[in-house]
């Protein structure tokens, strides 16, 4: 190895340094030349068949307030596009655009409409561009969008606590009872955790893809999700295994992190449902979420049954797993653009996958009989119980 590198260094020494620099300049120069040729001689002229430029417009945020409706749009056309007029409910309405003028591909602009919207009713916004193309956006149920300092923020924190923090805390309270379980009980609990994580993984990915579908095409939603999930999975795997495979408290912390990121997504969804008026959140729905998430606490407790962590560790784990639900609710209710929520969910999916892998490898290592441990009746029952419980309780909360 050393010899080879010396040889190559010797060879290189024969060439002046600027020559190697030239090898960076050359490809760039070819690119520049291609661009210049494209621009100057217009070889695509024969493709120009009189068709108007492709136009695309994505509605990213809708803010409904006392001063009317404000909408953030992102252009995705082949050329900068101009918003000529805006209809609301089939009526041309005065609007201001910020920043004014044509919107470049990928750029955004706020459209402000002083429209007297009606609480609890549907409205349709229709943007007409200079070519006469229209882009419609439905406001399913008009309710005022919460602002950063509105009193509803505190209420949302309480709700987030019910949905995220409380169930994890309840689950962790089973800890003393679970400490006494035997080998089969342990198999059951670990597999149950894997099962519930598997459910969360699928659920998170599905939500991410759904949100990505609403985002502008130029973000390439599905690709972005797969890449972000893979990156977060690999990063967490690498980070987790720096000091050997994570076990015990370290593994519990990773589970809490993965679940936390999932709960962030859950919070985003609830917040977004709030803001779009799609959900008049009932008590039943909130209790459904609480029930749904109790197993998450048990899952976090499973790897640390053989340890005796101090009480404050439990508090930290609870906050790590449940706290993001509160943050998600806040962010979701501010109606942020779907691609950012999709990105957060994709990172969460990667994190959940990482803990699934680590849980399974823990089970494999704990038992001498290796992979057969995963197929033991107790383990299979645990897996079924985990997935089944999550699926059935999810019925309470899916709208």
């Amino acid at each position: 190895m050393t010899d080879v590198s010396r040889t190559s260094r010797d060879t290189q020494a024969g060439w002046p340094r600027w020559l190697s620099l030239l090898w960076i300049v050359l490809p760039l120069a070819v690119l520049g030349l291609a661009v210049a040729w494209m621009v100057s001689s217009d070889p695509l002229a024969s493709f120009r068949n009189g068709a108007p430029p492709v136009e695309n417009l994505t509605f990213e945020r809708t803010i409904i307030g006392n001063d009317g409706i404000r909408i953030l749009v992102r252009a995705g056309g082949s050329e900068p596009m101009t918003i000529a007029q805006v209809q609301v409910d089939d009526a041309y309405w005065q609007f201001t655009q910020d920043p004014p003028g044509p919107i470049a591909r990928g750029a955004t602009a706020w459209i402000s409409l002083p429209y007297p919207w009606v609480l609890g009713e549907a409205h349709a916004v229709n943007v007409v561009t200079s070519t006469g193309t229209t882009f419609g956006h439905d406001i399913a149920v008009a309710v005022p969008t919460p602002t950063r300092n509105s009193p509803s923020f505190a209420a949302q924190a309480v709700l987030g606590g019910f949905v995220g923090i409380l169930p994890v805390a309840i689950g962790l309270m089973f800890y003393p009872a679970l400490r006494g379980v035997g080998r089969n009980g342990m198999d059951f609990l670990l597999s149950m955790t894997v099962g519930l994580l598997a459910f969360l993984f699928v659920d998170t990915l599905e939500d991410a893809f759904e949100l990505a579908g609403e985002a502008a095409a130029l973000f390439q939603g599905p690709t972005m999700i797969v890449l972000a999930a893979t990156a977060s999975f690999l990063l967490l795997m690498a980070a987790g295994r720096r000091g050997g495979t994570p076990t015990g408290l370290a593994l519990a912390t990773f589970i809490a992190l993965g679940i936390g990121l999932h709960n962030l997504g859950e919070g985003l969804a609830i917040g977004a449902a709030f803001v779009s008026g799609a959900a008049g959140l009932g008590t039943f729905l909130v209790l459904g979420f609480t029930l749904h998430n109790i197993t998450e606490g048990i899952g976090i407790a499973a790897p640390i049954l053989k340890e005796r962590p101090p009480l404050r560790t439990f508090a930290m784990l609870t906050l790590l797993a449940g706290g993001p639900a509160v943050v998600g609710l806040w962010i979701g209710s501010l109606a942020y653009a779907p691609q950012w929520s999709a990105l957060a969910l994709a990172i969460g999916a990667g994190a959940i996958l990482q803990v699934i892998v680590e849980m399974v490898s823990l089970q494999l290592r704990q038992r001498a009989d290796g992979s057969r441990a995963l197929l033991a009746p107790a383990a299979m029952a645990g897996l079924a119980a985990g997935i089944g419980f999550m699926y059935l309780t999810a019925m309470l909360v899916k709208i």
Partner: protein, 373 residues
């Protein structure tokens, strides 16, 4: 990594000089090609703080934003109101009047609402086409040239031979061709012409229509001579009227068979933003034509006033008296007569009573004044 790099260097070194040349050439071409991209002239955003004049505050915020560039369109909606095309008049051997028109079909992009450009098909470069006006009994000769990209025709609502009907096989001509329609001007009334090429819906809604007014010949209507004279363009009696032609039209800008923009005389909100100046003492006559596609019915409602209505204009006595709303189906038309003699000066709105059409651009106002200042 390092090894790979040096291997590459070894293999490709001989092409280095060539690369240098390419790079230099590239920069030169770049410099010459730095032409600015064609600017998309933004119509700008409204100045929110401007105090609104009375005629605008009447519509609140429910109005299109910005102004249409009339010079670019080549026609001004305000001027269209009274812009009659009376043709070239000569006398035939028998003493009859021969009235000749020249009409050319051409493709033209027009601005139908501020910032919204529509790829129209036009007669004489305007939408609606020229408001042809003749007198009952005239011999009409319309020289029609098709400079457009599709076959077109002029199908007149009137009495004529099958050969002159402007349907496929009878006066429908291809691009670059010419046809002469010849027939007598009858019956008197408020009529229209439009292209009868197929598909009909598309040809009409792209802008191929116009008003075709035949004034009654007073000599033929001794029992209503005074009325006939007041309708006949050029008489002193007619000069005592304020006459406007209004073609109610609409545009399907995204071609989904629903209209995005409604108007009278093409430009959305044109007469809402620039109310039509009307003298209080002079009676008003409107030649109203409906050519809206896709929606079966259009209507006209006058605020704070009532009018007499002559359906299709083929009678000299009103077919409806004292109404403030009439409906017209597609291609239906008629004459409205009213005055503001007992009204106080001010802004009097008119619009169809299909609120949807009003809110999508078809609304206007009469600015009733004591005298022209």
């Amino acid at each position: 990594m390092r090894e790979t790099k040096s291997l590459l260097e070894q293999k490709l070194d001989r092409r280095l000089l060539l690369a240098g040349g390419l790079a230099a050439g590239g920069t030169a071409v770049m410099a010459t090609a730095a032409r600015g991209q064609t600017g998309h002239a933004g119509h700008g955003t409204p100045a929110a703080a401007d105090p609104q004049p009375a005629h605008l505050s009447a519509h609140g915020a429910m109005i299109t934003v910005g102004e249409v560039e009339d010079s670019r369109n080549g026609f001004d909606p305000v001027k269209l109101l009274g812009d009659w095309e009376t043709g070239t008049v000569s006398t035939l051997p028998g003493g009859r009047t021969l009235r000749s028109f020249e009409v050319t079909a051409e493709d033209k992009e027009i601005e139908i609402a501020p910032g919204i450009l529509f790829p129209a098909w036009t007669y004489n470069g305007r939408v609606p086409g020229p408001s042809l006006r003749a007198t009952e009994g005239d011999r009409l000769k319309i020289v029609f040239r098709n400079n457009g990209s599709h076959p077109h025709s002029m199908h007149f609502h009137g009495i004529h031979a099958a050969r002159m009907d402007g349907v496929p096989g009878a006066g429908l001509i291809g691009p670059g061709e010419e046809f002469v329609y010849e027939f007598d001007a009858r019956p008197f009334g408020c009529h229209l012409y439009h292209c009868h090429a197929l598909p009909l819906k598309r040809h009409i809604q792209k802008g191929m229509y116009g008003a075709f007014i035949i004034d009654p010949d007073p000599a033929r209507h001794p029992e209503h001579e005074a009325v006939a004279r007041s309708r006949l363009l050029g008489t002193p009696e007619n000069a005592g009227w304020q006459e406007f032609v209004m073609v109610m039209n609409a545009f399907d800008t995204n071609f989904d068979n629903e209209n995005e923009v409604y108007a009278v005389n093409t430009v959305a909100h044109a007469y809402a933003k620039k109310p039509i100046r009307v003298l209080k003492d002079k009676p008003v006559r409107i030649y109203l034509v409906n050519v809206v596609e896709f929606d079966p019915i259009n209507s006209f409602h006058l605020h704070a006033n009532f009018f007499d209505y002559y359906n299709q204009g083929t009678t000299l006595t009103p077919t409806l008296r004292t109404v403030d709303l009439i409906t017209q189906c597609q291609a239906e038309r008629g004459i409205l007569e009213f005055h503001f003699k007992e009204h106080e000066p001010g802004l009097y709105m008119f619009h169809p009573h299909q609120s949807e059409f009003t809110e999508l651009g078809w609304s206007g106002m009469f600015d009733v004044v004591e005298a022209v200042s």
